[in-house]
């Protein structure tokens, strides 16, 4: 579990030496030997992940029904900068800028948001298996979005897509129930958590199925594909709309990272350390619901990203949310982009919903944790 702490990373922390009153520098050796994430190590990890994200994004934009080479990229970029050919943009340019890149970016945003939501829910519920999909928050958001689609009230107004807000409302209702349960237990034990999720999912799925069955059959097929969790190439306007929601929500969660650290120590201890836990938790649940609502409204129910990614990242770099949060978001983004590339290309020209790929990858991991690592999960 703690393999990540084994690598000592030497950092040049000046301030400890500068203070005359502190003991010899050797005394603070623990602060440099991997016991905590030094600023330097944190920056290294995040810089590495940002670089990897860029590489993954570019590579995955090149794969697809039509593979694009480096020269196709160059041509497309040249056309973008100097559009001298008027409207007759090349095929490569159309594929890249209207299909692939928007879809890859959307996948990155969705995956990142799901992972950040997973990290937050795990800290709030003090349970490393919490995930918006398993808990039924995604189903709640999907129900909200499905109702809006049924009534035709999810359209974009004033640049801001309204569908995410309906997802937000649905997700909030699901989270309010979970919040109630967690409050009465202090923390949500694994069995209560899974049971609550199963029942909530069953009820909400029944309601979604009800909506699908009374819908016009032509539209319900699209709804089903969306429910299974699938990404499509959004317009740039739609992409920017979702990006606004995801960026705002993720920034908010990042801001709360040190507070999340303290919240994992338990309600009373967090309060004794000066945190207004009721207010903070409510805010964090609201942000979580907003993020889930936003991503579910564009991609449906993509499962297990929020559980698998934070878990893997925690194993690699430790539990400090100041780095766990941004690192999980970046890794989650990459994971979904790669999953979606598999979904697009494995059976090309047919596409499978990306939710199937993530569930096939994440489900077994979840079972593994539940069966063989249960000492950690209680």
């Amino acid at each position: 579990m703690s393999n990540g702490h084994a690598t000592p990373l030497i950092s040049a922390t000046g301030p400890t030496d500068a203070r005359g009153s502190s003991g010899p520098a050797a005394e603070l050796a623990w602060s440099r030997s991997g016991a905590i994430l030094t600023k330097r190590r944190r920056h290294l990890v995040l810089f590495g992940l940002v670089a990897a994200s860029i590489v993954v994004t570019v590579l995955c934009s090149s794969f697809g029904a039509a593979a694009l080479s480096g020269s196709d990229w160059l041509t497309a970029l040249r056309e973008l900068i100097t559009p001298e050919h008027g409207d007759s943009a090349g095929t490569a340019g159309v594929i890249l800028f209207q299909l692939r890149i928007p879809r890859v970016l959307m996948g990155f945003l969705v995956g990142g948001a799901l992972a950040a939501v997973g990290v937050t829910l795990q800290a709030l519920l003090r349970n490393a298996l919490a995930d918006p999909y398993v808990l039924g928050v995604s189903s709640g958001a999907a129900l909200g979005a499905a109702i809006a689609m049924l009534l035709g009230i999810g359209a974009t107004s004033m640049l801001l897509p309204m569908l995410p807000l309906w997802g937000f409302a649905g997700g909030l209702i699901a989270l309010a129930l979970i919040y109630r349960m967690a409050q009465s237990h202090g923390r949500l034990p694994i069995h209560s958590l899974l049971l609550a999720g199963v029942i909530l999912n069953a009820i909400l799925t029944a309601m979604i199925m009800f909506i699908t069955s009374i819908m016009d059959p032509a539209r319900s097929a699209g709804l089903m594909a969306w429910l299974m969790g699938s990404l499509t190439a959004p317009g740039w306007i739609g992409l920017i709309g979702i990006a606004l929601y995801v960026m705002a929500g993720t920034m908010c969660l990042l801001y709360y990272a040190p507070v999340l650290n303290v919240l994992t120590q338990g309600e009373d201890t967090a309060r004794s350390l000066g945190i207004d836990t009721d207010r903070t938790k409510k805010r964090l649940y609201a942000v979580t619901a907003l993020l889930t609502g936003a991503v579910v409204s564009v991609s449906g129910m993509i499962g297990f990203v929020g559980m698998v990614i934070p878990h893997a990242v925690r194993m690699a770099i430790g539990s400090d949310h100041r780095v766990l949060m941004p690192a999980s978001a970046l890794v989650g983004g990459m994971f979904l982009v790669v999953s979606d590339t598999i979904a697009r290309t494995a059976f090309a020209p047919a596409e499978i919903p990306v939710g199937i790929v993530t569930a096939l990858a994440g489900g077994p991991f979840f079972l593994y944790l539940l069966l063989w690592r249960k000492d950690r999960m209680v």
């Binding site: 400890t16 623990w30 000066g274």
Partner: protein, 286 residues
């Protein structure tokens, strides 16, 4: 050493560390008819004193400690900490003044010992929205954590995940986190519960050492009368939410007092080394 480690001597001389005036509390707030968990309790704790709270199961020991910690709000009466009404203090100010080690401390995530101890620095940190929660631990934070870990002898565990520690180690880490808060008052709820005698001794000598080195005011709840007798300056006995007796171990750990509070016969003799009262169970009449 430095300003944040100094212990505000101006407060110490003038006021008692803790003054509890006629405090009552019941769960369920204002609902009438509920029994009082704590009823009209008044006492003072001097600066640098170690007070033990003892009493039968369900007598309100932990509730009283949580009232002192500000985790529960008194239904009536007032609590003053270093001369300031605790209800007037902001959560952060309170957290800089007073630290508490509670009983329930399940560690779910594999934070390292050093990371856990550094969480005690939270109330001293200036959160800024501009760095999006990525503020680093300052040299001050590291120095406080260093001192706390050295005092509790967990430095060698600094890079170990807390989820893998033994009970005794974890208890010392929790105390280290509380010390990293750099408090004037330390509250401990059953600090020796579930520990074997070796680790009980560890924790107790640590508490004695701390009051010497840090001039900490310590209030500890214990079900173990001998620990209260040997390590506390005074003992407060609760019975059914009411203060039954308070005084030095010699005044409180006596057969007649214990008979009145616990409603059972016990044998009290003198500790062979300290001469303080020692409680043992009598031979059962069968």
């Amino acid at each position: 050493m430095q300003s944040s480690l100094a212990h505000r001597p101006e407060h110490r001389a003038a006021n008692p560390a803790i003054a509890v005036e006629d405090v009552s509390f019941r769960y369920g707030g204002e609902l009438p008819g509920r029994p009082w968990t704590i009823e009209r309790v008044s006492f003072e704790v001097a600066c640098g004193e170690v007070l033990g709270i003892v009493g039968p199961n369900g007598s309100g020991k932990s509730s009283l400690l949580k009232l002192l910690a500000g985790l529960l709000r008194a239904g009536s009466g007032r609590i003053h900490l270093l001369g300031q009404a605790s209800s007037d203090l902001s959560p952060i100010t309170l957290a800089r003044m007073l630290a508490v080690v509670l009983q329930e401390q399940t560690q779910v995530f594999p934070f390292t010992v050093a990371e856990t101890v550094l969480m005690g620095r939270f109330p001293h940190r200036q959160a800024g929205w501009w760095n999006f929660g990525s503020e680093a631990d300052t040299a001050d934070d590291l120095a406080c954590a260093q001192r706390a870990m050295a005092e509790t002898d967990v430095l060698s565990l600094a890079d170990r995940p807390v989820s893998e520690l033994s009970g005794g180690e974890l208890q010392r880490v929790m105390i280290a986190r509380a010390l990293a808060q750099d408090p004037a008052i330390l509250l401990l709820d059953e600090p020796t519960a579930f520990l074997d005698i070796n680790h009980q001794l560890d924790i107790c000598s640590l508490i004695s050492r701390l009051r010497g080195e840090r001039q900490l005011t310590v209030v500890l709840v214990s079900h173990d009368l001998n620990i209260a007798s040997q390590y506390c300056d005074r003992v407060l006995m609760l019975k059914a939410g009411r203060l039954s007796h308070i005084g030095s171990p010699a005044e409180t750990i006596k057969p007649d007092v214990l008979q009145a509070v616990y409603e059972c016969e016990v044998v009290v003799d003198a500790h062979p080394q300290t001469g303080k009262p020692r409680v043992t169970m009598p031979m059962s009449p069968s």
